[in-house]
């Protein structure tokens, strides 16, 4: 079972994502509400994939992305952002994010992107 870590500061968003992913047979190994916890859980749980919100209370999602990549360069990260944050998303892709999802997202879209990224061979 593929293991996923969810990073989002909204409990509502985490619950939705978690239900969508769990229903589809993924294992959600952790939920981080802020950047600090995200970095700790990424190390601790070494998931197959991380969904990362770009706006977090303590750091920006970009700093978290850099932190994760510095520690685990092959980690697959999907950026979750809202409309109007294209600049951040583009930057995130340069830092090695695999894909992005725009809020509000549909279940189909999330599962499509997640399964696509997970099926890519690690380079």
């Amino acid at each position: 079972m593929k293991r996923i870590l969810i990073v989002d500061d909204s409990f509502y968003m985490r619950t939705m994502l978690k239900n969508m992913l769990t229903d589809a047979g993924y294992e959600v190994v952790g939920e981080a509400p802020n950047g600090q916890t995200a970095l700790e859980l990424a190390k601790e749980t070494t998931p197959d994939l991380i969904t990362l919100d770009v706006i977090l209370p303590d750091n920006t999602g970009l700093d978290v992305l850099k932190g994760i990549k510095a520690d685990q360069p092959d980690m697959k990260v999907i950026i979750v952002s809202a409309v109007g944050q294209e600049v951040i998303v583009n930057e995130a892709m340069e830092y090695g994010a695999k894909a992005y999802i725009v809020k509000p997202f549909s279940e189909e879209k999330v599962l499509e992107v997640v399964s696509q990224v997970l099926s890519e061979e690690a380079k």
């Binding site: 939705m16 769990t22 601790e44 749980t45 070494t46 706006i55 809202a82």
Partner: protein
Amino acid sequence: MKSREQEYKEIFIAEALEYYDALNRHISTLEKQPDDERTLAEVFRLLHNLKANSKAIGYLHISDVSHKLETAFSLVRSKELSFSDEVVTVLFDGIDLLGELISAIDKDEEKEPDPVLLRNLDIIVENLSESTIELAKVQKYSSSKNLSLSELVYIQIKKLDHLMNLVGELMIDRDRILSLSKELGSNELKAVSSHLYRITEDLQYSVMDARLVNIGSLFNKFPRIVRDIATAEKKEVDLTLSGQDIQIDRNILQIMTDSLLHLVRNAVTHGLELPAERERKGKPRAGKLRMSAQSDRENVLIELTDDGSGMDFKQIKRTAVERQLVTADVAKGLTDAEVLSFLFEPGFSTAREVTEFSGRGVGLDVVKNAIDSIGGRLTVDSEKGRGTTFTMLLPTSIAVKGALLFEVDEIFYAIPLIHTQQVVALDKDEIHEIGEVMIANLKGENVTVVYLHELLNADEADMRLGDKDRLKGQVQNIVVVAYNNRKLGLIVDKLYRQQDIVVKPMSKPLDRIDLYGGVTLLGTGKVCLVLDVPATTRYFMNRRQ
């Protein structure tokens, strides 16, 4: 059962109201320090989440207003909009409006945003700085504004413990009243007491429900722990978790924490082999460790399985003989389950190496005692070369237990259902005297049976546990209990019903009699002793030696 939509809605509202409170706090700070970059960023984040969440759940008014406010604050942030009095008023109004819209959803009311306010927001957002004069006075509703508090509260577990105890007391009185109403034959009292019964039951489950936490909150700590132990032991371990959503009483989970940690350490240190050794045996290099939880209404089942070397039955037998727990002759004839039960003897350990993580000497008896203390059951199953499984059957709640009521020598007893395997009625002729004990064949399995009347009441000198003549009557009611990988049949005088009971601990100095786990009061007002299955089993084992 709540639907997922209902649950989403509740979470959305609770979180949105938190955001609303935080926004109010921050905007007051900003009024005094408009350049506070951190507060601005925080306001921006809160509005951003509110916008995204409300859009996702379909409350478009809220996402629309959040969006306008977000834009306004981003203009403040980029200094394109000054934080003037007029602007502040509009922003305050906007945040108030958010609060009202959120509360309206909570009360299932339709609420349209005030068009004047929306236009004011548009004016500042479009940065028509000259036209702030145009900002129309918005009808102030602050005088009639209600204070709204968060829908979520944090509560100390101590308070829930107290609540649970009170429910327990209430259940006892309820049963008494129900029983009295039948005795008195009053229809009115019967109607009231059956209503009281339903309410108490509802209350009991609500309090139990409030104490539940996800098992994941414990399970999810293990990937890191296992990784650390594996690294120290130079092993490769592939840990899988399942059932993290299963809910369990918080205190039970707390007591389980050390036990589970102990079992996991043992599994990695002593169970799983080194990668090279595994390869020689034709197993994958990485050992598999599976931690799972399942539940039914009454119990939660936690399993820990490894695919390591399994228990060394010969070594366990040797150690048991060395420690004089059993004679060499008897040891030869023991079943696998009986051999494994030695693992739970105090201080029993066959480990030869002391390691940082699994020191020698701390036996499985510690784990067993912890699980006994909450009325759970621990069993172990193992196959040499294939691995070991520990199974923990735990009650979902400590205070209230399902129990089987019976009578011995005109005294009422109860046995928690978690320990009972089956109830059978056998003819006296189907019970056989073998040596010092009686044996009955139950579905092809020979089970030791004991007459409780004899065990509990006979004088030590005159106790004859293997004597069929002591049995009264022809048909024998047997409650089969399981403890420590062993089965024992308890012959009782009269069997009654199953019932939820509230176990009250014995008060001093009676609390030192460990044969009884406590007492409970029956509806008739009679006292009922709760038999402690682990202690009864031990008591029996000691008598027959």
